[in-house]
Amino acid sequence: MKKFEQILTFFKQSRRLRRVVIFAPVILLAVYFLVPAGLNWLALSLIRNDQVEEADLIVALGGDLRCERERRAAELYNQGLGSKLVVNGLQYSWGVHTAEAAKRFVVRLGVPERDVLMTCDTYNTRTEAQELVKLMRRYGFKTAIIVTSSSHSRRALYTIERAAPDFKFYSSPVPARPPEWQPRNWWTRRGDVYVTIREFLSWINTLLNAWS
């Protein structure tokens, strides 16, 4: 009892302790609610989704093992939003070229083979942008709809627009739903955490114009 009274007296006398006791729960509560909101906002900031208009080209960027980018690009083509479709890829291993596999896939989805173009050996977004711009200049195309994963969409458009500021590009990413990456509460899913961290590191690399 005496000890309790001593603590109470100390508490009454110490302004600093009183402040800590009052403000600590407020700060903890704010962190509890604001950190998830901030993390969600960060992930959502990776996405760029434009109002799509008819363009010369629809481009499915490479690197999607599930071919959801190619599926989305074929959907847009079948809606009449572009007259040509570009698929990207690289020599993956002996006998495997992912651009050729992607081409077979979009042809199966109803895109005529004559309307499918390929860019090859695109190992990262920057080389992909360079190859795309070369192709557009060669054929005289001026506008393109870029289809990629949601998490990659803002960086892809930033990189491509920087490579060809005189052309017009629209972003129409693959919807962010399972099994694709999802921005809401991404830290609760191991696969989405990996994608998000990798994307932010890639942004740093892109902005510093470091490795390409």
């Binding site: 093992l65 599930r66 071919c67 190619e70 890829g89 690289l90 020599q91 993956y92 291993s93 002996w94 006998g95 495997v96 992912t98 596999a101 992607a102 077979r104 896939f105 190992y123 990262n124 099994p179 899913r189 191991r190 696969g191 955490v193 990996y194 961290i197 990798r198 590191l201 490795w211 390409s212």
Partner: protein
């Protein structure tokens, strides 16, 4: 007094920042040492060819190990790389083309993995179902230390002995001026991210 406190605070911040930058640089340049385990090869029942990639020489290495008699069977393993395209199928064709008898080469298709542990559980189940007791896992150099530990732990539950290796040429290629090339840095960083990340998710441990 106020100015003194401010200066002290600023100095502390500068020291912490400098230490952080030095630590990050040290960690970055130590990545090859931290991630790459020494390669080891033993006689086993099966070679698990799990590093199928255009930038590696694993097909040649696997064929060489087979010819040297390290194992009598080979399993080519991969998830899909694109629509209905499994590099494992092509690696098998490549090995047959290099003269390995086709009846000794099998293929295991995996789902697209969320983390390495899920794939290793499926591989371990497959090895167990075939009655093999010892396996040699061929992986990428940058994943060798972590995968050796993780896969070893998973295989041990099925009472399967595991040795992890990679082609020495791939290690030379990967570690030569690695900080200058995008694909090399990307591989090192990707391999490094996975390790701490897996610790937070029970399904990946």
């Amino acid at each position: 007094m106020e100015l003194k406190v401010k200066r002290k605070f600023l100095r502390t911040i500068i020291i912490v920042l400098a230490l952080f930058i030095i630590g990050s640089l040290l960690l970055f340049f130590s990545l090859p040492r931290l991630l790459i385990a020494p390669t080891q090869v033993e006689k086993v029942d099966v070679i698990l060819h799990n590093a199928i990639d255009a930038r590696t020489t694993t097909d040649d290495y696997v064929a060489e190990l087979y010819r040297l008699g390290y194992a009598g069977k080979i399993v080519c393993i991969s998830p899909q790389a694109s629509w209905e395209t499994y590099p494992a199928d092509y690696a098998r064709k490549h090995l047959i083309y290099m003269g390995i008898p086709e009846q000794n080469i099998m293929v295991l298709h995996l789902p697209i993995p969320d983390c390495p542990a899920g794939s290793f559980r499926l591989i371990a189940d497959y090895v167990y179902s075939q009655g093999w007791k010892r396996a040699l896992l061929i992986t990428y150099p940058q994943q060798s230390r972590y995968e050796g530990w993780l896969a070893g732990k998973i295989f041990e539950k099925q009472k399967i002995g595991l040795v992890v290796t990679y082609p020495p040429d791939d290690e030379d290629e990967l570690t030569t001026n690695w900080w200058r090339e995008h694909w090399k840095v990307q591989r090192m960083i990707n391999a490094a991210i996975v390790i701490p990340l897996d610790r937070f998710y029970s399904e990946c441990r």
